[in-house]
Point group: none
Chain length 145, copies 2
Amino acid sequence: MKAFFGTFVNKVDAKGRLSVPAPFRAVIQGRGLTSVAIHPSLFESCLEGAGFDRFENLESQITDTFVPAPSNDAAELIMAELRELPLDGEGRVVLPDEFIAKAHLKDQAAFVGQGRKFQIWEPSALEALKKAKLQRVLAATKGDA
Amino acid sequence: MKAFFGTFVNKVDAKGRLSVPAPFRAVIQGRGLTSVAIHPSLFESCLEGAGFDRFENLESQITDTFVPAPSNDAAELIMAELRELPLDGEGRVVLPDEFIAKAHLKDQAAFVGQGRKFQIWEPSALEALKKAKLQRVLAATKGDA
DNA sequence: TGGGATTTTATGGGCGTCAATGGGATTTCA
DNA sequence: TGAAATCCCATTGACGCCCATAAAATCCCA
Protein backbone atom coordinates (compact mmCIF):
# COMPACT_ATOMS: atom_id res chain seq x y z
CA MET A 1 0.00 0.00 0.00
CA LYS A 2 1.47 3.32 -1.02
CA ALA A 3 1.85 5.76 1.81
CA PHE A 4 1.77 9.51 2.34
CA PHE A 5 5.27 10.88 2.94
CA GLY A 6 7.19 14.09 2.45
CA THR A 7 6.20 17.69 3.12
CA PHE A 8 4.76 20.05 0.54
CA VAL A 9 3.76 23.69 1.04
CA ASN A 10 1.02 25.06 -1.20
CA LYS A 11 -1.00 28.25 -1.32
CA VAL A 12 -4.47 28.82 0.01
CA ASP A 13 -6.11 31.21 -2.45
CA ALA A 14 -8.82 33.80 -1.87
CA LYS A 15 -11.51 31.21 -2.48
CA GLY A 16 -10.12 28.85 0.14
CA ARG A 17 -8.80 26.51 -2.52
CA LEU A 18 -5.70 24.43 -1.87
CA SER A 19 -3.83 22.18 -4.28
CA VAL A 20 -3.29 18.68 -2.94
CA PRO A 21 0.34 17.77 -3.75
CA ALA A 22 0.66 15.55 -6.80
CA PRO A 23 2.31 12.67 -4.87
CA PHE A 24 -0.59 12.62 -2.40
CA ARG A 25 -3.11 12.71 -5.21
CA ALA A 26 -1.34 9.72 -6.71
CA VAL A 27 -1.93 7.77 -3.50
CA ILE A 28 -5.59 8.78 -3.37
CA GLN A 29 -6.26 8.10 -7.02
CA GLY A 30 -4.29 4.88 -6.81
CA ARG A 31 -7.11 3.63 -4.60
CA GLY A 32 -9.70 4.70 -7.11
CA LEU A 33 -10.86 7.66 -5.05
CA THR A 34 -11.69 11.16 -6.28
CA SER A 35 -11.94 12.92 -2.94
CA VAL A 36 -10.09 13.33 0.33
CA ALA A 37 -11.56 12.95 3.81
CA ILE A 38 -10.42 15.63 6.26
CA HIS A 39 -11.13 16.52 9.88
CA PRO A 40 -9.54 18.81 12.47
CA SER A 41 -7.16 17.03 14.82
CA LEU A 42 -8.58 16.52 18.30
CA PHE A 43 -5.30 17.42 19.96
CA GLU A 44 -3.30 19.67 17.70
CA SER A 45 -3.94 22.82 15.68
CA CYS A 46 -3.92 21.05 12.37
CA LEU A 47 -6.10 19.06 10.02
CA GLU A 48 -5.80 15.36 9.35
CA GLY A 49 -6.76 13.66 6.15
CA ALA A 50 -6.57 10.53 4.07
CA GLY A 51 -8.65 8.64 1.59
CA PHE A 52 -12.16 8.15 2.81
CA ASP A 53 -11.43 4.46 3.21
CA ARG A 54 -9.41 5.24 6.34
CA PHE A 55 -12.55 6.40 8.11
CA GLU A 56 -14.85 3.66 7.04
CA ASN A 57 -13.86 1.45 9.92
CA LEU A 58 -14.49 4.35 12.27
CA GLU A 59 -18.17 3.65 11.95
CA SER A 60 -17.65 0.12 13.16
CA GLN A 61 -15.69 1.42 16.15
CA ILE A 62 -18.76 3.16 17.41
CA THR A 63 -20.80 0.79 19.46
CA ASP A 64 -24.32 1.03 18.15
CA THR A 65 -26.34 1.49 21.26
CA PHE A 66 -29.15 3.65 22.53
CA VAL A 67 -27.17 4.34 25.69
CA PRO A 68 -24.33 6.88 25.53
CA ALA A 69 -20.93 5.15 25.71
CA PRO A 70 -17.86 7.18 26.74
CA SER A 71 -15.58 4.86 24.79
CA ASN A 72 -17.14 6.22 21.63
CA ASP A 73 -16.24 9.81 22.38
CA ALA A 74 -13.17 10.19 20.20
CA ALA A 75 -14.66 8.42 17.22
CA GLU A 76 -17.88 10.38 17.55
CA LEU A 77 -16.05 13.72 17.68
CA ILE A 78 -14.15 12.88 14.54
CA MET A 79 -17.21 11.64 12.73
CA ALA A 80 -18.96 14.87 13.64
CA GLU A 81 -16.31 17.04 12.04
CA LEU A 82 -15.25 14.81 9.19
CA ARG A 83 -15.77 16.18 5.69
CA GLU A 84 -15.40 14.58 2.31
CA LEU A 85 -13.81 17.16 0.01
CA PRO A 86 -13.93 16.46 -3.73
CA LEU A 87 -10.89 17.18 -5.86
CA ASP A 88 -11.56 19.67 -8.63
CA GLY A 89 -10.21 19.28 -12.15
CA GLU A 90 -6.85 20.70 -11.09
CA GLY A 91 -6.47 18.56 -7.98
CA ARG A 92 -7.57 21.16 -5.46
CA VAL A 93 -9.93 21.00 -2.50
CA VAL A 94 -11.93 23.85 -1.01
CA LEU A 95 -11.33 24.13 2.71
CA PRO A 96 -14.37 25.04 4.83
CA ASP A 97 -13.88 28.22 6.85
CA GLU A 98 -13.99 26.28 10.13
CA PHE A 99 -11.05 24.17 8.99
CA ILE A 100 -9.03 27.23 8.03
CA ALA A 101 -9.79 28.73 11.43
CA LYS A 102 -8.97 25.57 13.40
CA ALA A 103 -5.57 25.18 11.77
CA HIS A 104 -4.88 28.93 11.86
CA LEU A 105 -4.17 28.86 8.14
CA LYS A 106 -3.31 32.06 6.37
CA ASP A 107 -2.11 32.03 2.78
CA GLN A 108 -0.05 28.86 2.96
CA ALA A 109 -0.61 25.29 4.07
CA ALA A 110 1.91 22.49 4.57
CA PHE A 111 0.90 18.93 3.75
CA VAL A 112 2.83 16.51 5.93
CA GLY A 113 2.87 12.82 5.05
CA GLN A 114 2.50 10.44 8.00
CA GLY A 115 2.07 7.07 6.35
CA ARG A 116 -1.57 6.10 6.38
CA LYS A 117 -2.67 9.70 6.87
CA PHE A 118 -1.41 13.20 6.31
CA GLN A 119 -1.66 16.45 8.26
CA ILE A 120 -2.17 20.03 7.12
CA TRP A 121 -0.37 22.75 9.11
CA GLU A 122 0.25 26.44 9.04
CA PRO A 123 3.95 26.36 8.03
CA SER A 124 5.37 28.26 11.01
CA ALA A 125 3.38 26.11 13.45
CA LEU A 126 4.77 23.05 11.73
CA GLU A 127 8.32 24.30 12.20
CA ALA A 128 7.73 24.74 15.91
CA LEU A 129 6.25 21.25 16.20
CA LYS A 130 9.15 19.66 14.38
CA LYS A 131 11.63 21.41 16.67
CA ALA A 132 9.80 20.07 19.71
CA LYS A 133 9.64 16.54 18.32
CA LEU A 134 13.32 16.58 17.48
CA GLN A 135 14.15 17.71 20.99
CA ARG A 136 12.22 14.78 22.41
CA VAL A 137 13.99 12.36 20.10
CA LEU A 138 17.41 13.75 20.98
CA ALA A 139 16.63 13.57 24.69
CA ALA A 140 15.46 9.98 24.39
CA THR A 141 18.56 9.03 22.38
CA LYS A 142 20.89 10.59 24.90
CA GLY A 143 19.18 8.58 27.57
CA ASP A 144 20.06 5.38 25.75
CA ALA A 145 23.74 6.19 25.43
CA MET B 1 22.42 -8.40 -0.43
CA LYS B 2 24.84 -5.95 -2.04
CA ALA B 3 25.81 -3.07 0.18
CA PHE B 4 26.72 0.58 -0.23
CA PHE B 5 30.43 1.21 0.39
CA GLY B 6 33.14 3.65 -0.63
CA THR B 7 33.10 7.42 -0.94
CA PHE B 8 32.41 9.32 -4.15
CA VAL B 9 32.35 13.07 -4.66
CA ASN B 10 30.15 14.41 -7.46
CA LYS B 11 28.99 17.83 -8.58
CA VAL B 12 25.71 19.51 -7.76
CA ASP B 13 24.81 21.45 -10.90
CA ALA B 14 22.79 24.64 -11.30
CA LYS B 15 19.56 22.67 -11.46
CA GLY B 16 20.28 20.89 -8.20
CA ARG B 17 21.07 17.66 -10.04
CA LEU B 18 23.52 15.17 -8.60
CA SER B 19 24.85 12.00 -10.19
CA VAL B 20 24.44 8.95 -7.99
CA PRO B 21 27.74 7.02 -8.15
CA ALA B 22 27.57 4.08 -10.51
CA PRO B 23 28.35 1.49 -7.79
CA PHE B 24 25.44 2.81 -5.72
CA ARG B 25 23.16 2.76 -8.73
CA ALA B 26 24.10 -0.86 -9.26
CA VAL B 27 22.88 -1.69 -5.75
CA ILE B 28 19.62 0.19 -6.28
CA GLN B 29 18.95 -1.23 -9.72
CA GLY B 30 19.96 -4.68 -8.55
CA ARG B 31 16.82 -4.58 -6.44
CA GLY B 32 14.71 -3.58 -9.40
CA LEU B 33 14.29 0.00 -8.19
CA THR B 34 14.46 3.15 -10.31
CA SER B 35 14.55 5.71 -7.52
CA VAL B 36 16.32 6.47 -4.27
CA ALA B 37 14.66 7.41 -0.99
CA ILE B 38 16.39 10.25 0.85
CA HIS B 39 15.81 12.22 4.03
CA PRO B 40 17.84 14.64 6.17
CA SER B 41 19.55 12.97 9.10
CA LEU B 42 17.93 13.71 12.46
CA PHE B 43 21.31 13.92 14.18
CA GLU B 44 23.85 15.20 11.69
CA SER B 45 24.09 17.82 8.95
CA CYS B 46 23.83 15.34 6.15
CA LEU B 47 21.31 13.39 4.11
CA GLU B 48 20.66 9.67 4.37
CA GLY B 49 19.42 7.47 1.59
CA ALA B 50 18.80 3.96 0.40
CA GLY B 51 16.37 2.09 -1.75
CA PHE B 52 12.78 2.85 -0.87
CA ASP B 53 12.41 -0.67 0.46
CA ARG B 54 14.40 0.38 3.52
CA PHE B 55 11.60 2.73 4.55
CA GLU B 56 8.60 0.62 3.84
CA ASN B 57 8.25 -0.66 7.38
CA LEU B 58 8.42 2.91 8.67
CA GLU B 59 4.71 3.25 8.10
CA SER B 60 3.95 0.32 10.35
CA GLN B 61 6.10 1.85 13.10
CA ILE B 62 3.62 4.68 13.39
CA THR B 63 0.77 3.63 15.60
CA ASP B 64 -2.35 4.53 13.72
CA THR B 65 -4.38 6.38 16.29
CA PHE B 66 -6.13 9.69 16.63
CA VAL B 67 -4.15 10.38 19.79
CA PRO B 68 -0.57 11.71 19.41
CA ALA B 69 2.06 9.28 20.73
CA PRO B 70 5.62 10.46 21.55
CA SER B 71 6.92 7.00 20.68
CA ASN B 72 6.16 7.84 17.08
CA ASP B 73 8.29 10.98 17.05
CA ALA B 74 11.34 9.69 15.21
CA ALA B 75 9.38 7.76 12.61
CA GLU B 76 7.07 10.71 12.04
CA LEU B 77 9.93 13.14 11.58
CA ILE B 78 11.58 10.91 9.02
CA MET B 79 8.31 10.20 7.25
CA ALA B 80 7.63 13.93 7.07
CA GLU B 81 10.93 14.66 5.39
CA LEU B 82 11.35 11.55 3.31
CA ARG B 83 11.36 12.00 -0.45
CA GLU B 84 11.43 9.49 -3.26
CA LEU B 85 13.76 10.88 -5.90
CA PRO B 86 13.60 9.22 -9.31
CA LEU B 87 16.82 8.58 -11.21
CA ASP B 88 16.91 10.32 -14.57
CA GLY B 89 18.22 8.65 -17.70
CA GLU B 90 21.78 9.48 -16.69
CA GLY B 91 21.51 8.23 -13.11
CA ARG B 92 21.02 11.60 -11.45
CA VAL B 93 18.59 12.81 -8.81
CA VAL B 94 17.31 16.35 -8.30
CA LEU B 95 17.82 17.46 -4.72
CA PRO B 96 15.04 19.61 -3.23
CA ASP B 97 16.24 23.00 -2.01
CA GLU B 98 15.52 22.07 1.62
CA PHE B 99 17.86 19.11 1.33
CA ILE B 100 20.64 21.24 -0.10
CA ALA B 101 20.15 23.71 2.73
CA LYS B 102 20.03 21.08 5.49
CA ALA B 103 23.28 19.46 4.38
CA HIS B 104 24.90 22.83 3.61
CA LEU B 105 25.72 21.62 0.11
CA LYS B 106 27.37 23.98 -2.31
CA ASP B 107 28.67 22.70 -5.64
CA GLN B 108 29.86 19.30 -4.48
CA ALA B 109 28.41 16.37 -2.57
CA ALA B 110 30.13 13.29 -1.15
CA PHE B 111 28.32 9.96 -1.17
CA VAL B 112 29.47 7.81 1.73
CA GLY B 113 28.59 4.12 1.74
CA GLN B 114 27.35 2.78 5.08
CA GLY B 115 26.20 -0.70 4.23
CA ARG B 116 22.40 -0.75 4.21
CA LYS B 117 22.29 3.00 3.65
CA PHE B 118 24.47 5.82 2.44
CA GLN B 119 25.01 9.43 3.50
CA ILE B 120 25.49 12.60 1.49
CA TRP B 121 27.83 15.23 2.95
CA GLU B 122 29.32 18.55 2.04
CA PRO B 123 32.94 17.39 1.41
CA SER B 124 34.65 19.66 3.94
CA ALA B 125 32.14 18.74 6.65
CA LEU B 126 32.84 15.09 5.89
CA GLU B 127 36.58 15.66 6.33
CA ALA B 128 36.00 17.23 9.72
CA LEU B 129 33.78 14.32 10.77
CA LYS B 130 36.34 11.75 9.68
CA LYS B 131 39.07 13.55 11.63
CA ALA B 132 36.91 13.54 14.74
CA LYS B 133 36.07 9.87 14.34
CA LEU B 134 39.71 8.97 13.89
CA GLN B 135 40.61 10.89 17.03
CA ARG B 136 38.07 8.90 18.98
CA VAL B 137 39.44 5.64 17.62
CA LEU B 138 43.00 6.64 18.51
CA ALA B 139 42.00 7.73 21.99
CA ALA B 140 40.15 4.48 22.60
CA THR B 141 43.10 2.47 21.30
CA LYS B 142 45.59 4.33 23.51
CA GLY B 143 43.38 3.53 26.43
CA ASP B 144 43.61 -0.18 25.61
CA ALA B 145 47.41 -0.23 25.23
C1' DT C 1 52.04 -6.30 -22.83
C1' DG C 2 51.30 -2.06 -25.05
C1' DG C 3 48.30 0.91 -27.32
C1' DG C 4 44.33 1.94 -29.82
C1' DA C 5 39.26 1.28 -29.88
C1' DT C 6 35.06 0.95 -27.34
C1' DT C 7 32.13 1.50 -23.48
C1' DT C 8 30.80 3.62 -19.28
C1' DT C 9 30.44 7.75 -16.38
C1' DA C 10 29.89 12.24 -15.14
C1' DT C 11 28.27 16.63 -16.52
C1' DG C 12 26.03 20.44 -19.19
C1' DG C 13 22.26 22.29 -21.75
C1' DG C 14 17.69 22.48 -24.47
C1' DC C 15 12.91 21.53 -24.81
C1' DG C 16 8.37 19.69 -23.93
C1' DT C 17 5.10 18.43 -20.33
C1' DC C 18 2.85 18.83 -16.14
C1' DA C 19 1.90 20.86 -11.62
C1' DA C 20 0.45 24.86 -9.18
C1' DT C 21 -1.97 29.03 -9.27
C1' DG C 22 -5.08 32.85 -10.59
C1' DG C 23 -9.06 34.67 -12.79
C1' DG C 24 -13.30 34.44 -15.02
C1' DA C 25 -17.66 32.18 -16.49
C1' DT C 26 -21.37 29.23 -15.32
C1' DT C 27 -24.30 26.69 -12.36
C1' DT C 28 -26.70 25.69 -8.02
C1' DC C 29 -29.28 26.47 -4.17
C1' DA C 30 -31.64 29.15 -0.89
C1' DT D 1 -32.14 36.90 -7.73
C1' DG D 2 -28.08 37.13 -5.04
C1' DA D 3 -24.41 34.54 -2.93
C1' DA D 4 -21.75 30.71 -2.99
C1' DA D 5 -20.01 26.74 -5.03
C1' DT D 6 -18.31 24.47 -9.21
C1' DC D 7 -16.23 24.30 -13.61
C1' DC D 8 -13.19 25.89 -17.25
C1' DC D 9 -9.24 28.14 -19.24
C1' DA D 10 -4.67 30.82 -19.21
C1' DT D 11 -0.16 31.55 -17.34
C1' DT D 12 4.19 30.44 -15.54
C1' DG D 13 7.56 28.11 -13.51
C1' DA D 14 9.43 23.69 -12.27
C1' DC D 15 10.46 19.21 -13.49
C1' DG D 16 11.28 15.14 -16.49
C1' DC D 17 13.25 13.60 -20.67
C1' DC D 18 16.42 13.80 -24.40
C1' DC D 19 20.86 14.56 -26.60
C1' DA D 20 25.80 16.18 -26.72
C1' DT D 21 30.37 16.27 -24.87
C1' DA D 22 34.42 14.95 -22.35
C1' DA D 23 36.96 12.21 -19.37
C1' DA D 24 37.92 7.87 -17.47
C1' DA D 25 37.77 3.05 -17.30
C1' DT D 26 37.63 -1.22 -19.82
C1' DC D 27 38.30 -4.23 -23.54
C1' DC D 28 40.68 -6.36 -27.29
C1' DC D 29 44.00 -7.83 -30.26
C1' DA D 30 48.33 -7.73 -32.49
